[in-house]
Symmetry: C2
Subunit: 403 residues, 2 copies
Amino acid sequence: RIDGQRLWRRLMALAQIGATPAGGNRRLALTELDGQGRDLVTQWARELGCSIRVDAIGNIFMRRAGRLDLPAVMTGSHIDTQPTGGKFDGNFGVLSGIEVLSTLHQAGVVTDRPLEVAIWTNEEGSRFVPVMMGSGVYCGAFTLASALAAVDLDGISVATALDAIGYAGSDHIETPACYFEAHIEQGPVLEAHDKVIGVVEAALGQRWYTVTVKGMEAHAGPTPMAMRRDALLCSARLIAEVNAIALANAPNGRGTVGWIENYPNSRNVIPGQVRFSVDLRAADETTLGGMDAALRAACARAAADAHLAIDVEQVVYFPAQAFDATLIASVRQASDSLGLSWMPAVSGAGHDAVYVARVAPTAMIFVPCKDGISHNEIESAEPEHLEAGCNVLLRAMLAAARA
Amino acid sequence: RIDGQRLWRRLMALAQIGATPAGGNRRLALTELDGQGRDLVTQWARELGCSIRVDAIGNIFMRRAGRLDLPAVMTGSHIDTQPTGGKFDGNFGVLSGIEVLSTLHQAGVVTDRPLEVAIWTNEEGSRFVPVMMGSGVYCGAFTLASALAAVDLDGISVATALDAIGYAGSDHIETPACYFEAHIEQGPVLEAHDKVIGVVEAALGQRWYTVTVKGMEAHAGPTPMAMRRDALLCSARLIAEVNAIALANAPNGRGTVGWIENYPNSRNVIPGQVRFSVDLRAADETTLGGMDAALRAACARAAADAHLAIDVEQVVYFPAQAFDATLIASVRQASDSLGLSWMPAVSGAGHDAVYVARVAPTAMIFVPCKDGISHNEIESAEPEHLEAGCNVLLRAMLAAARA
Ligand SMILES: NC(=O)NCCC(=O)O
Ligand SMILES: NC(=O)NCCC(=O)O
């Protein structure tokens, strides 16, 4: 059994780096704070005798040697956060891995296979797009070069930011034997069903876009309503359409506009250009494809109606991903053997596990979070639930580590 | 007759200060560039033997003495611009005044009454709210203290910014005998009717607001559509409502959302808080009052429907303003005597003249601008039209300057 208090202490220690007054975490990918978080976690791993490797996109791999020279059993997640993020999203998965290693270290257990804990770079996708960047590169979802060239809103590239915090590595990391990821659910289902463990069977597919609406700046007073080409008004209508598209694809269809940039953004100027993000999600390819078509049709209609130019650029795409049946069964068994209540779950969020599942058998373990709220400074989780999830991870990893 | 080429040369020289690559002007109120513009124009006035005075809100008054110690005939406008503004909005009115003084100086004419050219502070209202700040303080529409305390988005106050550019004065300026303001129309009506001069009879009333929508940040993936309290989606619906309110009050009703701020503005976070501006305009108090009520009702409905808190704060208000019948007639006569085509006009924009009309007889002279486009870097006007408008100003001022 893992030490739930040690796990909690480490979660709270990591949460000090980029702590916000509202009790959350702001540790954007590849900032100085992210660097400090990486330093802290790798320090803990070193104290357990782990070797540390870093690859070219800055993913960190902390390895505890096994008896045999076989592919490792890997776990991990991310420690970057949203601009107004919480203390558990990502951090729980990484520190659960470290806790598993600490428990084995203390008990003097040596596994057949090596165990490896990964910190994936820029999972959140809020400073740099695409989301799940480090695991995406590792699994070949897109190229290293394209990821290194991505820039934030200030024009700083991933390559530059990695250099600045000293995490531009060059290690080549073999494909693991299998991969587990523990994570808070980030949704309300476990809580609603009063279950402690979500046995994750699949994750929703996602398509993200940058939509650019080009209108015509003009004076908010003398310009007659009929003569306007108002880029913000047109965008507002499209934001409502994105919501309608999601509702038309219930129960799993999701549609969100989280980011918007208005130009020139002056009170008495009719906006001339607006850029905004669209995030569409669905449980299967047919539905997600239909939502994509509906978005493009809505934009084409809006452009024609309002005499504006609208550009729709897809910036993230991955299909819904099923996890490995054998590993799923192993998570279920671990939960049962620990006497924990569980239910099957579908992940509404993307996770590094979604990309790793392309190269190795993968499964995820969810624990509840308060009111289903995540990507919010008030994100909260019960110590007992976190401890339970980590115990499930320990058993599932031990089972997989047998040669 | 004024010298149209000199007027044009000065317009182009002033437009060098804060020139943008797209051919426009970015000289926000009380920035260093605004200071440079003020220095340039006052230098020209000094060369004409004018005395220069500056009041506590930074309005500049450039006076050419008359034969008699009577209240002055005043003209003026502003030289601050929109973030993506043009070369003529405001600048034309100020430099027309300087051109009138230059013409009289050259001809050795001394008028009975003094003539005075004003540069009003922060007319545009895009760096600091309220709009028409300098003339508003001068005419008692709001207090000096409240204006000095207004801050920009970086938290810099008007008082600090005035100090920084050396235009925090202390002169007391008497009420003028009357006030004229020449300005580009900023709308399409004169061009559509092929007229050179707009004899402005009134200006639309305005109400501006800051609307704050408070929802709940949550994850764009796992959060079911029905559980969301999306501040941006709610704001998008309100932006469409603002447009509908204006259309329902045709032909003079105007409604614009020019500014929006989304929080935390991350692609995969359901927005938790949005602030946006609303700018409503109408030709009479009843209509404007009805639009205000419609906006507040729409916000109350939206708050109830979407389980969000919405705050509506009015930040600018002035009723529609009629100009002085005698001065209007004088502008008409001047146009006729110069053989210029003219038509009556209503100003859709606010102008410093709208506030000055509260304390002194006031009239305005419009000239066409290309395609009716203003508050845009491509704002453009014909040299002949500008010259014609300035000649009308000269005649109207000379007539008013007789004791
Ligand atoms: N788990 C998580 O918050 N991932 C971010 C990617 C997403 O938006 O699904
Ligand atoms: N003339 C002008 O552009 N004034 C700005 C104030 C307004 O928005 O009406």
